[in-house]
């Protein structure tokens, strides 16, 4: 912003409102946006948790049992439940945003948004099913 002019009678003094620190609390859409930004912390938490699990696995049965013990504590269950909610929120909003970043045209016509978003959900379900099969069935 150029503010090269000084205030004179003929060059008015501008008024600039300061953006409040709580700008995100004043509008639902902004609040939702901040929640979405926050959700990445929980996504990162799950990644770190998986790394810890893998590390424990490599250290042998005792250390894996120790981490399982921790996972059974009410604190861990609550934390994981909240993280799951945030991760779901993150995933769903992310999938729904893909059509905006990837307009696909076939034969000169733009595909409807749901056709871009749907394959994400399908892939999600399929991959989750495979993982579940490994964990539970396999």
């Amino acid at each position: 912003m150029k503010e090269t002019h000084n205030y004179t009678l003929y060059h008015p003094k501008w008024y600039r409102e300061r953006v409040s620190t709580y700008w995100w609390a004043r509008q639902w859409s902004y609040f939702r946006f901040i929640l979405r930004e926050l959700s990445s912390i929980f996504v990162a938490y799950f990644v770190v948790l998986i790394l810890f699990l893998l590390h424990a696995l490599s250290q042998g049965p005792e250390s894996y049992a120790a981490i399982q013990e921790w996972l059974r504590t009410p604190f861990a269950i609550t934390l994981n439940f909240i993280s799951l909610l945030f991760t779901l929120f993150h995933t769903i909003t992310w999938f729904n945003l893909t059509p905006r970043a990837m307009p696909v045209r076939i034969g000169g016509k733009r595909l409807p948004d749901w056709m871009i978003a749907a394959p994400n959900y399908v892939a999600w379900v399929v991959i989750s099913a495979i993982v579940a099969w490994f964990v539970i069935g396999g």
Partner: protein, 247 residues
């Protein structure tokens, strides 16, 4: 049916006051009236000193953008009937310095608009005798949505990123850059890349998405920016995998 509706209009007279105040005006309620009609009534009948910008009163010129009950709106397309029983709070566009009453300073936006080179750039101009640059309807359709921008700055008033960091180039200017990047007649993508790929350019955008919701012309600046991000990331990845290729 009500006869009148109250408007709370932000007043800022720099020679008299150090910060804006609100003044209440009672105007006739007419279901065909938009907020701009009410402001014109105030200026004509109640207080001639009220300052605001307007021109076409039909959603084309982009001059009359203001905050109406906290949302950025073209006042010529915002009906009083939507806000019954009132009061309706009218303020200058958010995040811009206020010059007087409802008029904001827009040099910053104008500079940013110019900085993205929103015109067709050719490596070499074709002589006039060779005729115009032709384009198919599909090629036109590629960028047409982004070309509907009327520079009303409503997307800037909706964008918290711009509010917090005035160096951010902002939705309209970025969408317009993308409009020319996607134009089959344009060859200026590389020239725009340096500016657009800065932190203040596309990467400053955190995809709040409010610009698109607020846009009175359905331009979808947020979409334009994400599409450009995707393209920039793909280009970077390509140059990373094939450094011998084109820059």
């Amino acid at each position: 049916m009500i006869d009148t509706i109250t408007l709370e209009v932000a007043r800022y007279r720099p020679e008299q006051e150090t910060e804006p105040t609100f003044e209440r005006f009672e105007v006739p309620f007419n279901k065909d009236w938009v907020v701009l009609d009410a402001l014109n009534y105030i200026k004509d009948r109640l207080d001639g000193s009220l300052s605001y910008r307007w021109s076409c009163r039909m959603g084309v010129c982009g001059s009359c953008g203001m905050m109406v009950n906290g949302e950025p709106k073209l006042t010529c397309a915002t009906f009083l009937s939507k806000y019954v029983p009132g009061p309706i709070r009218v303020e200058p566009l958010r995040y811009f310095p206020v010059v007087r009453d409802l008029a904001v300073e827009m040099t910053d936006f104008m500079d940013k608009l110019k900085s993205v080179k929103p015109w067709i750039i050719r490596q070499e101009e074709r002589p006039l005798s060779e005729g115009e640059y032709l384009q198919t309807p599909v090629q036109l359709d590629n960028y047409k949505q982004f070309s509907m921008c009327i520079n009303c700055m409503i997307c800037y008033a909706a964008c918290p990123v711009y509010g917090l960091d005035h160096h951010f180039i902002g939705p309209a200017a970025l969408a317009l850059a993308q409009r020319y990047n996607m134009d089959s007649r344009d060859q200026g993508t590389d020239e725009r890349l340096d500016l657009l790929s800065q932190h203040e350019g596309i990467w400053g955008c955190t995809f709040v998405g409010e610009c698109t919701k607020a846009c009175p012309k359905n331009v979808d600046p947020a979409g334009a920016i994400q599409q450009y991000k995707l393209k920039a990331a793909t280009e970077w990845f390509k140059s990373f995998l094939m450094p011998w290729g084109r820059k």
